[in-house]
Amino acid sequence: MDKFKTHTGVGVPLRRSNVDTDQIIPAEYLKRVTRTGFEDGLFAAWRKDESFVLNNPVYAAGSVLVAGPDFGTGSSREHAVWALMNYGFRVVISSRFADIFRGNSGKAGLLTAIVSQDDVELIWKFLDNNPGAEITVDLLARTVRAGEIVAPFEIDDYTRWRLLEGLDDIGLTLRHEQEVTEFEKGRPSHKPVTTLA
């Protein structure tokens, strides 16, 4: 995973709440067996609408998505995170994220910045007045800067540290492999195994 410290890029206002993962990437696009190439499925249904924000050339280089509350609800598909990243997004800003989506983002290197809805509204207004303007997301300072707006964002310390260091979760856990082995010795014998004779 690449290290993430700060990112500056074109902000894209997505004025919708409850953006579920079926909207981020519909199921028919989930059939690839790689982690790449999902950008064509990103918001596939909405992109058919000419007025959809991503169809505006001003946002062609967009990399910071500013969305309404409850972003990423529904399916656990990490493909939603890959689709956003494959398309070029590095950050999603929202006042509330679905748990699994937020977890998947942290693992894959997409920053999910929790900003108050009041600040999201301010940033939307700023982007309306300055289409194509850049937003700076500073993970060290935990702030989002858009023009004169400086909004704090929440992210848990552990995820922040992993993103800053670009650490591989599995590698971290394998440092404690001995503890897993010890734990296994104490598991009750009646716990099932999948390999019935």
Partner: protein, 475 residues
């Protein structure tokens, strides 16, 4: 210290706890399917890592499989399924492929084999893993990076979830089912209200539910944003498990039951949040919008977006009505549907099929409606056929299919066409979920069956008049 059921199961699985870090949690059972696993296996190969516990891992093919006889014709779906087969072969994992007697939807297969047991931690790259919580297991969906993590380490780094008690007091009236309960819970809590929580469903109405009905309730916890839903194990749980292929036997069974009996929230345990619902107030429930929280009693009408106090709810309702092509004030019972789908990990088990068959029996599916009945697993299909349910469905004009996820999501040949409207026993009414432009109303198996006959959203009670008219015509 007093604890909740979720906390007890969590604490029993902590491998490592350190200040400022998430807990490292041991995983008892890891279920796999073809959609969310290929990239995880690639990751293992790249790093040269084996699967730590093949004996705690099980795979099945479900999302892509066609429900009509014959091989997969979509070349991309075929590659995904073949990739799972190759990966299971390479890493030594048990797989139930299409055509196997134990194949089916991953959340139907685990419980029916007796693999899902009280007090376990169960994960799968699928948000409806919450289904398994019906046994008093802590079961939740994970993403593909976490699938890889569990394959490599049989553990996950996680922060403890908060706990929310859903108290369903009173008794359900006849004709009101687990699906109606959970749709009402989601409408009350909202699609985001459960975020960060594990739900524990409690109360008289929950205790009275069968295991399969409990699975329906826990299955849809995720639709309220909760990571997991649980129900304390009791005699109903033990009776369901006893004698299943992977259930403990002999002395192990006794030891297990003793341990499982202690798995309940202590009387003085404190939940972070509580929600109460009176079961006796509930009637059949259906959704009108494009998220599972947008639901109402069937006796109600399509709401006016202006009636919502919250602005984002107003916008969301207006968007939903535009997508669903519905007018405020239309009686829900007057909404015509084109397709009825009975199946999925929510309502594809034998009791669901029995309930739908009992309603359909002696009736004909309306001419304007196609009805698909898709068993959740090959064993459910065999059982249904042994009971003659398939004959009831086909005599009524419904299609009797092979097991799979089918029309719950648009990944296999069973989809809605643009503008087509369904009454569906599945779990998500998101835009395009059942196929591009498709419009979904979530319902119980009873409502699905009655709807198929009348052609508009209906409950079995609405069929009373219809029966008379048929008899009158025949006379």
């Amino acid at each position: 210290m007093a604890g909740t059921l979720a906390e007890k199961v969590w604490d029993a699985h902590v491998v490592r706890r350190a200040e400022g870090e998430p807990d490292l949690l041991y995983i008892d059972l890891h279920l796999l399917h073809e959609v969310t696993s290929p990239q995880a296996f690639d990751g293992l190969r790249l790093a040269g890592r084996p699967v730590r516990r093949p004996d705690l891992t099980l795979a099945t093919e479900d999302h892509n499989v066609p429900t009509t006889p014959g091989p997969i014709t979509d070349p991309v779906s075929k590659i995904q399924v073949e990739t799972l087969r190759r990966n299971c072969e390479e890493f030594g994992l048990r797989l139930y492929p299409m055509g196997d007697v134990d194949q089916g939807i991953v959340h139907v297969v685990g419980p029916q084999l007796g693999l899902t047991q009280p007090g376990m931690t169960v994960v799968c790259g699928d948000s409806h893993t919450s289904t398994h919580g019906a046994f008093g297991a802590l079961a939740f969906g994970i993403g593909t990076s976490e699938v890889e993590h569990v394959l490599a380490t049989q553990s996950l780094s996680l922060r403890p979830f908060r706990t929310l008690a859903v108290n369903v007091v009173g008794r359900l009236h006849e004709g009101v089912t687990a699906k109606d309960v959970v749709l009402a819970v989601i409408a009350k809590i909202g699609t985001g209200g459960g975020q960060g929580y594990v739900f524990e469903y409690r109360g008289e109405a929950i205790e009275a539910l069968s295991m399969e009905a409990r699975m329906t309730v826990c299955n849809m916890s995720i639709e309220a944003g909760a990571r997991a839903g649980m129900i304390a194990p009791d005699q109903t749980t033990f009776d369901y498990l006893k004698g299943r292929p992977h259930a403990p036997q002999g002395a192990d069974w006794d030891a297990a039951v003793a341990e499982w009996t202690a798995l309940r929230s202590d009387d003085d345990a404190e939940f972070d949040e509580q929600v109460e619902l009176d079961a006796s107030d509930l009637t059949p429930f259906v959704t009108w919008g494009t998220n599972p929280g947008q639901g109402l009693p069937l006796s109600d009408s399509v709401p006016d977006p202006e009636s919502f106090a919250d602005e984002s709810d107003r916008v969301s309702a207006a968007n939903a009505l535009a997508y669903m092509d519905l007018e405020p004030g239309t009686k829900l019972r007057d909404i015509r549907v084109d397709t009825v789908f009975v199946g999925s990990c929510t309502n594809g088990r034998i009791e669901d099929l029995r309930a739908a068959a009992a309603v359909v029996k002696g009736h004909q599916v309306a001419k304007s409606v196609r009805m698909l009945v898709v068993p959740g697993s090959a064993r459910v299909r065999l059982q249904a056929e042994a009971e003659g349910l398939d004959a009831v469905f086909t005599a009524a004009g419904a299609e009797w299919r092979l097991p799979g996820c089918s029309m719950c999501l648009g990944m296999n040949p069973d989809t809605l066409s643009p503008g087509e409207r369904s009454a569906s026993t599945s779990n998500r009414n998101f835009e395009g979920r059942q196929g591009k432009g498709g419009r979904t109303h979530l319902v119980s198996p009873l409502v699905a069956a009655a709807t198929a006959i009348r052609g508009t959203l209906s409950s079995p009670a609405d069929l009373a008049g219809l029966e008379t008219s048929i008899t009158a015509q025949e006379a």
